[in-house]
Symmetry: C2
Subunit: 105 residues, 2 copies
DNA sequence: TTCATATATGAATATATAAGCATATATCGA
DNA sequence: TCGATATATGCTTATATATTCATATATGAA
């Protein structure tokens, strides 16, 4: 049986809470931020990301999976190479705004 | 001596990266989201928050300290009671947008 | 089919962090 | 000063998570 939480009328339901927290969690890690920031410019392959940011291939791949699960990025295949690009405009706008908000403060 | 990272021209500097990640980290925890969501309405004392959200007083106090350090909340004192309210409009707008974006999807 | 390259994945580990308990501190009134 | 109430803090523990290594999988070319 599911545990019952009787929430305050102004409290959020569990599903919304989960979605919101996951979205912000995606943007809370420096490595993921750097990856998404790179994707502002243009699509990049996994290796390009790893080289540009000086990260291991497996690290990049793990983080891309995380972002893919949240539909924040997508990819297209060309031979053995996967080109990743961002998929969620709303989230990317938040990221851009917050970077600007933070960099000249 | 500080370690030198030579970053890609499109990469973010360390200070910005830290600020951005901290900001989103604040919004990545369900408890902190619920607290901030409550503060949309009006200021609340620590105990009011704890009761409304069915959380321990120490839990609320710990999280408020976190939010206070990032200047996302402020408080005013009235006797022994501290009334907390939000302080950062930009962050609260992001939160509100993302909640709306997530709740009817 | 075999090789080379690009990417993904599983397991292990180190670190970060949220929550809880117990207790300290602060303010006010008597 | 003492008691009551509100909040903060230190410590501990359980859990989550980022990274790494080693290896698996997938694609295309020879």
């Amino acid at each position: 049986m599911e545990e019952q939480h009787s929430r305050h009328p102004y409290d959020l339901d569990e599903e919304t809470l989960f979605l919101v927290s996951q979205t912000f969690k995606a943007l809370s890690d420096p490595t993921r931020i750097r990856i998404l920031n790179l994707l502002f410019q243009r699509e990049h392959s996994v290796n390009e990301i790893a080289e540009s940011l000086d990260l291991r291939q497996s690290t990049v791949s793990h983080q891309l999976r995380f972002l893919k699960n949240l539909r924040l990025v997508k990819y297209r295949r060309e031979g053995t190479t996967l080109y990743y690009s961002y998929e969620d405009e709303h989230v990317m706008n938040m990221l851009k705004q917050t970077i600007e908000h933070s960099s000249h403060s």
